[in-house]
């Protein structure tokens, strides 16, 4: 097992490297040097940037050097000092801006994932054990809608209903009076009141997909002879379903963690813009439209890293659950 984890970790390194190169290319794509933009922006605000200062910045980012040196400097700053460069839009170091946002992003993604499982597993099991019942049809229909309706539409409609029928302003994660307040029970309650929409909307697609997978897997499993044998021996039906077939059916379920977590993080970008959540999404969108290159690059790099880590975690979980993977790929 340890060997597998180590091997998998080593395999992740080239991917992370490729992610960082891609992020760097992406922030280099817009035409013109960002320093020119920066100087122009400062000039617009009536501030003069001296040639000396420009030179110093140029040297700090290695702008007069070939691209690979620039990349090297960028990566070196990140890896050794946690320095992601300077945000020109905010006029402060990128590292001061992002960690809070990334924390919320991760928190929301993990909570949504847990809620997805909480609903998908029992519903999937119910749908499979009560195939073609009324509730099964209802869940199937809901699943199709969940897969088909784009998240931001659902978010808009839910917010509209909450606002017009219940007079609740559900954007963001906190009400105004709690935004900068210290943590307290009331603040946590306020957070919960705001969090249900992002979780519901962000989780709807994943839940629908997982219910379908769980149902299909369990149906395959329920027709196997060992279930028949266990039933013939008079095993309690609930124990029979949950103890054996449900556990086997969970196996492919875990492999979906790999793409569920990254999809939540990446899909959350649009959702968080609509819901104005304090996550990485709106910051990234802003940085991209304002050509705030280092901020955008840092966010893409971090979201990409999260994605790679998500795949890694699911692979390890899968190997832990299923010995065939552990030994088979050796």
């Amino acid at each position: 097992m340890l060997q597998y984890i180590v091997r998998r970790l080593i395999l992740a390194i080239p991917t992370l490297f490729a992610v960082s190169v891609l992020s760097f290319i992406l922030i280099q794509l817009p035409p013109g040097s960002f320093l020119d933009d920066y100087a122009a922006q400062l000039a617009q605000q009536g501030e003069e940037i001296s040639n000396q200062q420009l030179e110093r910045l140029k040297e700090a980012y290695g702008l007069d050097q070939p691209v690979y040196v620039q990349y090297y400097k960028w990566m070196k700053g990140i890896l050794t000092r946690g320095d992601f460069g300077l945000s020109f839009e905010w006029n402060m170091p990128v590292s001061q801006l992002i960690w809070d946002r990334m924390g919320w992003t991760l928190f929301l993604a993990v909570t949504t994932l847990l809620c997805t499982w909480l609903f998908a597993i029992p519903i999937g099991v119910y749908s499979a054990t009560h195939q073609y019942s009324k509730l099964d049809y209802l869940f199937t229909a809901l699943g199709f809608v969940g897969l088909g309706v784009p998240g931001f539409m659902l978010a808009l409609v839910l917010m509209w209903i909450a606002l017009s029928h219940f007079g609740m302003d559900v954007g963001g994660l906190f009400s105004d009076q709690f935004k900068s307040a210290p943590w307290s029970l009331a603040k946590v309650w306020d957070l919960i009141k705001h969090m249900w929409i992002p979780i519901l909307v962000g989780g709807s697609e994943g839940t629908a997909g997982l219910i379908r997978i769980m149902r299909a897997n369990l149906l395959d499993e329920l027709h196997k002879p060992y279930v028949q044998a266990a039933r013939a021996r008079g095993l309690d039906e609930r124990r029979l379903v949950w103890e054996y077939p449900a556990r086997v059916a969970l196996n492919p379920f875990v492999s979906s963690v790999g793409f569920a977590l990254p999809e939540l993080v990446s899909g959350g970008v649009i959702l968080s813009v609509v819901l104005s959540l304090p996550t990485a999404g709106p910051l990234l969108l802003n940085a991209l439209t304002a050509k705030d290159t280092y901020l955008a690059g840092a966010l893409i790099l971090l979201i990409g890293t999260l994605t790679v880590l998500g795949v890694l975690i699911s692979d390890i979980l899968l190997a832990w659950l299923d010995p065939r993977i552990r030994y088979g790929s050796r």
Partner: protein
């Protein structure tokens, strides 16, 4: 892991009636005929196919079908709610002719908001194949014939079946024009990613070895990148000075650059499965060229699967364009697409006051659901000998 659709649980026998006649019919039928029959049995998919066909007809003839000019600004009628069609005319008589009542604006003295009340003393009948604002069909053929409208004598009366936006532009006409851009971007984007997918997936599956390894690593890498931030970054890199046609093309290229991997995997899988088949070996022994083996023998046998995969890929493309434009990084006004129209609905306060601004989103949802159902049906039908 089985990702079969729910319907797959029901084995659907092709034989409907017993008897020698129908059995011969099935035995001599071509694969495509079998697929067609199988597809017809999937009711929801057939209905969805019909819906999609209607939407594409609307997109093709949008100038003729839209009752008005989507760019026409009616300053006196901003944020008009959708008008209802009424069969009772101005004199209170029931007619068999659809029509709309006139509108009279009121300004609320407290909130200063403009509201409109229907004026049932005025009633304007709706005519079919009537004259309306002039246009050029596909930018070529000048005409002023519209599918429906109020006719020449009530030309300047408000006729907004789906309401108007903040500039007083007709939502119905705008949604109909938006269909052309939004639906075509799905087709063009899928065509481009299919090209990439068939070439790279084909090389990967047919030759195997090192090219396969390289392409598989590339696919794995692209799939492990977060899609939406990638789109956003690429779309933000498009020069803002580009004319709309360039942006349209740029967005499609971006969507297909990120989206070809699924198709490539599918093509590769099919190639690998077929490579070892006897009929391929037979063709090779008979001296067919590689090119002929691929196009004459292998492609026809997996074409149906590819069509099903394509159908399931189109809604993703449409949704991507909508999301990008919605965020302001995709197409921009004056281009009309559903995503661009939805930009007006970004603010909840506005939506709460003028909910009809969400209607372009309803069009998106209907099209996406229809494509998903049709794709499911096609996927079941693609393998007529299976089960």
């Amino acid at each position: 892991m089985s990702e079969e659709p729910v319907q797959a649980a029901l084995p659907v026998p092709i034989e409907i009636e017993e008897g020698a006649e129908s059995e011969t019919r099935i035995h001599v039928a071509t694969p495509w005929q079998l697929m067609w029959w199988r597809f017809l049995r999937h009711r929801v998919a057939v209905v969805s196919a019909f819906v999609i066909a209607c939407f594409y007809l609307i997109a093709i003839f949008c100038e003729f079908i839209a009752p008005g000019d989507p760019e026409h600004i009616d300053g006196a009628h901003r944020y008009v709610p959708p008008q209802t069609i009424s069969f009772v005319d101005a004199h209170g008589r029931l007619t068999f002719h659809p029509g709309v009542y006139g509108l009279s604006p009121h300004r609320d003295p407290n909130t200063l908001r403009l509201t409109y009340t229907t004026d049932s003393t005025k009633w304007y009948p709706i005519y079919f194949f009537t004259q309306g604002p002039p246009y050029r069909l596909w930018g070529l053929i000048p005409s002023n014939l519209h599918l429906f409208g109020l006719g020449p004598e009530a030309q300047d009366q408000p006729f907004y079946l789906l309401g108007t936006d903040r500039l007083g532009r007709d939502m119905l006409s705008r949604i109909i024009y938006g269909a052309r851009i939004s639906l075509s971007i799905g087709l063009v984007g899928v065509a481009l990613s299919l090209l990439l997918g068939i070439i790279l997936g084909g090389i990967s599956g047919y030759y195997g070895g090192t090219p396969d390894l390289v392409i598989q690593r590339l696919i794995e890498f692209i799939r492990s990148m977060p899609t939406i931030p990638l789109w956003l970054a690429l779309a933000a890199a498009l020069p803002p000075k580009w004319p709309p046609e360039y942006v349209y093309f740029g967005i499609t290229v971006i969507l297909s650059l990120v989206g070809w991997t699924r198709l490539a995997r599918e093509v590769r899988g099919r190639f690998i499965a077929l490579r070892e088949e006897d009929f391929v070996l037979a063709a090779r022994l008979a001296g067919s060229s590689e090119w002929r083996i691929i196009w004459r023998h292998m492609v026809p046998s997996f074409l149906s699967h590819i069509i099903a995969v394509i159908t399931l890929a189109i809604p993703g493309m449409i949704l991507s364009e909508t999301s990008l434009s919605f965020l302001g990084l995709g197409l921009r006004p004056p281009v009309i697409s559903w995503g661009v129209l939805l930009q007006d609905a970004q603010n909840v306060q506005t939506v709460a006051l003028y909910p009809w601004l969400l209607l372009p989103g309803v069009a998106v949802v209907v099209v996406i659901l229809a494509f998903n159902f049709m794709g499911d049906g096609l996927r079941d039908a693609a393998d007529p000998y299976g089960r």
